[in-house]
Amino acid sequence: MKLTGRYRFVAAHRLDTPTLTPEQNRRLYGKCNNPYGHGHDYIVDITIEGAVDSDGLIASREQMDALVKNAVLQRVDHKNLNVDLAEFHSAVPTTENLATVIRAWLEEAWTLPAKLVAVRISETERNTFIWEAGKV
């Protein structure tokens, strides 16, 4: 069985690749290249898969919430992704890259009996990015 928890954080970012010229960056990233940055209310859905144990749980909610808070939320909430996170000093904080980084943080901190099988991030209601185990 699978269990999905929804979490939220707010952060600023700017999309800009140092290997491109300012004009190329403007053309590629449009408004997201604004030199002063901009922000989003991100929503992260984290899906785990495992057997229901004798307590009737796939995972303890407290344990899952604490893991996500420590591994992810406290690193990104109310942060400037480009400035505050070493991961984005050399990589562009697109939400694709953010999903990859969040998945790696979760895997590194993982202590739950169930497996991490999906990370889904919305930067706005219109844009959603999904990593799913065994797919992409």
């Binding site: 269990l3 999905t4 307590d55 009737g56 749980l57």
Partner: protein, 137 residues
């Protein structure tokens, strides 16, 4: 083809093992172990899969699906205290996982057709927490 129908029911429950102390239950179930119970507006999404019947243009008759969902789930669980009024939750802790498993057990035999079958039961406890059951545990 997949087809999903939604239903809602409001119910109260206690997530606690009666054989344990209050401290043990709080350690495992947190606030959900409050011995006086608490409630949710559960949202159920039932997904069927199958071939579209060429005569009717349907995978499954939605009116029939609604009736089955009402009979097997909504009429049984809506505005009920699950632990006290809805077996097997007098014996099994009604976590959202166990409620979803019970819903699967109730629905699956009623939804078997030549061209279609139950594919997934998604049960939202709140807008921020749901489980998916697509067969066994």
């Amino acid at each position: 083809m997949f087809l999903t129908r939604k239903a809602e029911f409001s119910a109260s429950h206690i997530c606690a093992n009666p054989a344990w102390t209050a401290e043990q239950n709080h350690a495992v179930y947190g606030a959900n172990a409050n011995p006086n119970g608490h409630g949710h507006n559960f949202v159920l999404e039932v997904t069927m899969t199958g071939d579209t019947n060429p005569d009717t243009g349907m995978v499954f008759d939605l009116r029939e699906l609604k009736e089955i969902l009402n009979q097997e789930v909504v009429d049984v669980m809506d505005h009920r205290f699950l632990n006290l009024e809805v077996p097997p939750f007098d014996r099994i802790v009604p976590t959202t996982e166990n409620v979803a498993l019970e819903i699967w057990r109730r629905l699956e035999p009623k939804l078997r057709r030549e061209n279609a079958r139950l594919y997934n039961v998604r049960l939202y406890e709140t807008a921020d927490l749901f489980v998916d059951c697509s067969g066994g545990n």
